[in-house]
Amino acid sequence: MLTSAELVWLMAAVAKGDQAAFERLYAATRAKLYGVALRILRRSDLADEVIQEAYLKIWHNAGSFDPKLATPITWMVAIARNRALDLVRKKGEASIEDEPAAMEAAADTPNPLARREMTEELKRLLACLGQLEEDRRRMVLLAYYSGLSREQLAAQFDAPANTIKTWLRRSLMQIRECLGS
């Protein structure tokens, strides 16, 4: 993985229409984006589709990337996640019941990093998540990583969808206060 500064440089070149830079950007980020999409979609054919669309959008919108507002990887992941979430919501809410095994696999912390590999930002966020009640924390992580909707969380946590919404919002506001930014 390239450093964030290298990715910013590549993004600038991509914004100018540099295809070679785009290929390098793809090589440096494809596995992360694919991992994110696959986790939400759970089907490689859908992940292929989403990643293809996401990179075309990245190519077209590279000029609107602002390094003051986001890191390149955050910006790119947001594009891929949004595509994946749009697709999974359009497909309806049935998918999770179809795949109980996938559900089991959707652990809250997918790939625990050694503490030294964590950025300060991640450590801060994890500390804030740690202040949430266990269920609330799992809910937030399942939603973020596995793309569960309120209805799916409602089934999983045996609570009405409206209650889930209230819990999610409270948890998110708590995270915001805790991060203080």
Partner: protein
């Protein structure tokens, strides 16, 4: 933060977290286009939560994927190109020029909107804005832009008093089947915002207040002006929570629903006593856009 801001930030947070349903996602996409403050909230949440992806295991995509992306680039041209097809803009919305990648003037439509100056209720509005997300012919899109579901057009126009179209921006957003038309009502970032979703097939409207002060002695009322020159008709009052009115549009055919102007006015409790908007008609921007 006020409860209004809190609600908006909660909506932005859930959008980023991913827990909104398809219709709410379409509404949030539309709001991002017209409300810079909301877009900024979304960016902040992407930043806050985005670090979580460092813990997602990388998975190599299949090799042919790059070839498909690359051939998509060749078809679509270089970065910065217009995202809309060069060919065959729909007849009702001819492209006349493209001043920037995202802004397109549509004279024919503008003419139509100028026709609204005849409508008195619009004159009462300082600004009336609508974003329409409409189904768009997928077959005119280059293949790499062609989604599996028909994409959707967001039409936003800024209508000011005297009624005049300032600009139209054309974008496409992925839209769920459920939300064929989405309108965003917002005058400025400080004023209340409403999202209107119209299901053309079911003739159903849903209004969702995103950031709107609840006032004990006032109520918001939704209106439709089906044709230029015709007085608006009430589509009902907007409740404090999500407001759904089935069959509110049963008198209108799909073409009218798609092209009508919608307005929200501030009225006494129980709604307008005259059958016409009496209070200020809020908000406004009609844009057309593609992220």
């Amino acid at each position: 933060m006020t409860s209004m801001e809190e609600d908006k930030d909660g909506f932005a947070a859930e959008y980023v977290l991913g827990t909104l349903d398809a219709e709410e996602r379409a509404q949030a996409d539309a709001l991002i286009l017209v409300d810079a403050a909301f877009a900024a909230l979304v960016k902040r949440w992407e930043r806050r939560l985005g670090v979580l992806t460092t813990m997602v295991a990388a998975v190599e995509p299949p090799l042919p994927l790059w070839e498909r992306i690359k051939s998509g680039l060749a078809d679509a041209g270089q970065a910065g190109d217009l995202h809309l097809p060069e060919v065959a803009a729909p007849a009702a919305m001819p492209r006349t020029d493209a001043p920037s990648a995202e802004v397109i003037h549509m004279r024919q439509r503008m003419q139509r909107w100028r026709g609204f100056s005849a409508i008195t209720w619009l004159a009462a509005a300082c600004l009336v804005g609508i974003v329409l997300v409409r189904e768009y012919k997928p077959d005119v899109l280059p293949s790499e832009l062609r989604p599996h579901e028909p994409p959707v057009r967001v039409v936003t126009q800024v209508v000011e008093k005297p009624v005049e179209v300032v600009k139209e921006v054309v974008r496409e957003v992925p839209a769920p089947r459920a939300a064929q038309l989405v309108a965003v009502f917002q005058k400025d970032e400080q004023s209340p915002a409403f999202l209107l979703t119209v299901d053309v097939d079911k003739r159903m409207v849903t209004v969702r207040p995103v950031a709107a002060e609840r006032m004990a002695d006032k109520t918001y009322q939704l209106w439709i002006a089906a044709q230029p020159g015709q007085p608006p008709r009430s589509l009902g009052l907007i409740g404090n929570d999500e407001f759904t009115q089935r069959a509110a549009l049963s008198d209108y055919d799909p073409a009218v629903i798609s092209n009508a102007t919608y307005g929200i006015s501030l009225e006494p409790p129980g709604g307008s006593p005259t059958g016409q908007p009496t209070g200020p008609v809020i908000h406004a921007r009609l844009v057309q856009a593609t992220p």
